[in-house]
């Protein structure tokens, strides 16, 4: 931060309000204004004036689906966070799911040395299906401990299932020999699904929309919780890969293209994949899905199906 006099700060207030100065100057002027009885109110008034300019923009159409999607994600994130703050909160009442169940067929791609070392240690999740290694990797920085798993229900369905499970637990008489194992099983499922919701919520979550190259149609999302290093990918409307082929997920950094596994969408084109993998917070540049030979490839070779910039 640089030192600014009152006169210098005052002369820059309009530019600071319009964000037309460097970050350094802005921070210095704001620091001065926070303590200055003259500059503080003046800056607030200037910012108010600047924001009014935003009303000049012609209204842009926003599709109902897009608008509703943002709203539901926001409310769900807020509800999840509120409940994590209040552990004894009552049972949540999430809205109805807008995507039905989808099951992915997943294959891990083996353990490699090299570029992945700079990406840090990864850890698997216990609900994952065993991975089968593939052959001939040269640089793929995929660690075997990344356990991409098929999740048997999509996220929005998870929330309603939670409600149902909690109700069933409440109804169960856990003192009877028959009911106790049922309750334990349900509790385990709830814990698993709670973990999924937590992975997709919070201030450290980055969402990468996945779009087709030609039409820019959004057909999925990759959610990365940079605090917990949980990754969840959802796709919808994807065609089945050609015979003998599969889809492969790539995490693209400046130095590597990291295979994150292969998958096959369900008959409705839906997929949900979950992984745990440590990546530096600023390393991700893009996420891409390519069509590759069954079992996966060591580097992207097939056509890009969908992708998104981080």
């Amino acid at each position: 931060m640089i030192e600014v006099s009152h006169e210098e700060a005052f002369s820059e207030l309009a530019a600071v309000a319009l964000d037309s100065v460097s970050k350094e100057v802005s921070e210095s002027v704001r620091a001065h204004a926070a303590l200055c009885p003259e500059c503080g109110p003046e800056l607030a008034a200037m910012e108010e004036t600047a924001a009014m300019l935003g009303h000049l923009v012609p209204p842009a159409p926003m599709s109902p689906g897009r608008k509703a999607g943002i709203r539901s994600r926001l409310v769900m994130r807020a509800r999840s966070e509120a409940q994590s703050i209040t552990p004894n909160a009552t049972t949540p009442t999430f809205g109805r799911p807008d995507i039905s169940r989808g099951v992915a067929s997943l294959t891990g791609l083996g353990h490699k040395t090299g570029p992945q070392r700079e990406l840090g240690e990864s850890r698997g999740i216990t609900t994952g299906r065993a991975s089968s290694p593939s052959r001939g990797f040269n640089w793929v920085a995929f660690a075997a401990s990344i356990a991409l798993v098929a999740v048997s229900a999509q996220l929005f369905r998870v929330t309603t299932e939670l409600n149902s499970m909690r109700a069933r637990i409440a109804e169960a008489d856990t003192t009877t020999p028959v009911a106790a194992p049922v309750a334990e099983s349900l509790e385990a499922k709830i814990a698993e699904k709670d973990a999924m919701i937590a992975a997709m919520s919070g201030p450290d979550v980055m969402v990468v929309p996945l779009m087709t190259q030609s039409t820019r149609q959004t057909m999925g999302r990759m959610t990365w919780n940079r605090a917990s290093n949980d990754w969840i990918m959802v796709t919808y409307g994807l065609k089945q890969p050609r015979s003998g082929m599969t889809y492969q997920v790539w995490l693209v950094t400046d130095t590597a293209r990291i295979s994150a596994g292969t998958f096959r969408p369900d008959k409705d084109g839906r997929t949900m994949m979950r992984a745990s993998y440590a990546l530096p917070r600023d390393a991700l540049r893009a996420v891409a899905i390519t069509e590759e030979p069954e079992g996966g490839a060591s580097s992207p070779t097939g056509p890009m199906v969908i992708s998104g910039s981080a």
Partner: protein
């Protein structure tokens, strides 16, 4: 509404979103020229509002001001990170140019249209050179130095024009502070 958000009432966040998402989206998609990126910025803006609700001070501005300021800043951060601002594109989008005296807008509420028209009226009163500096600063996200380069004017001139423009707009637009709440 903001107070309820600060008390972790997520229905208040939904209500805030219902009220202001369209205005925010319009601004952000205008800046980014990409609906999907705009969607992300809108979501992150409301999420920041949720997380920072307890720090919101009504005395420092209307809720809409707060949201538009956050959203615009996030959009500009993206533009700057991607170095997507180009002079040619900057010059092709002139929000202030040819502002008509009246433009019926059935897609907006009467109240919203009134605010928009009042802002337009205030802009109309500015000299062209001040409008240009304001437009390049607000809608194209250019720094004063970049504006000086783009317009061929000395930096000091750009600073003066920007300051004068904002001072002239301040009084007429301050009347609408309550309207945008």
């Amino acid at each position: 509404m903001i107070r309820r958000m600060a008390e972790a009432d997520e229905t208040a966040l939904g209500a805030l979103y219902d009220q202001w998402s369209r205005s925010l989206y319009s601004l952000v998609v205008h800046l980014l020229k990409d609906a999907d990126e705009a969607e992300d910025v809108v979501e992150e803006t409301f999420w920041q509002a949720w997380r920072k609700a307890s720090t919101y001070e009504p005395s420092k501005g209307a809720v809409s001001t707060w949201l538009l300021t956050i959203g615009r800043r996030k959009a500009l951060d993206r533009l700057r990170a991607q170095k997507r601002r180009r002079e040619d594109s900057v010059k092709s989008e002139r929000i202030f140019a040819d502002i008509p005296s009246s433009e019926p807008d059935p897609s907006r509420s009467a109240e919203g249209s009134d605010v928009r028209e009042q802002v337009r009226a205030a802009i109309r009163e500015l000299p062209d050179e001040q409008r240009e500096v304001l437009e390049l600063g607000y809608f194209s996200g250019l720094s004063q130095t970049e504006i000086a380069d783009a317009t061929g004017q000395p930096l000091g001139t750009v600073k003066t024009r920007m300051r004068l423009a904002m001072q002239k707009l301040r009084e007429p637009l301050s009347m609408h502070r309550g309207v945008t709440e």
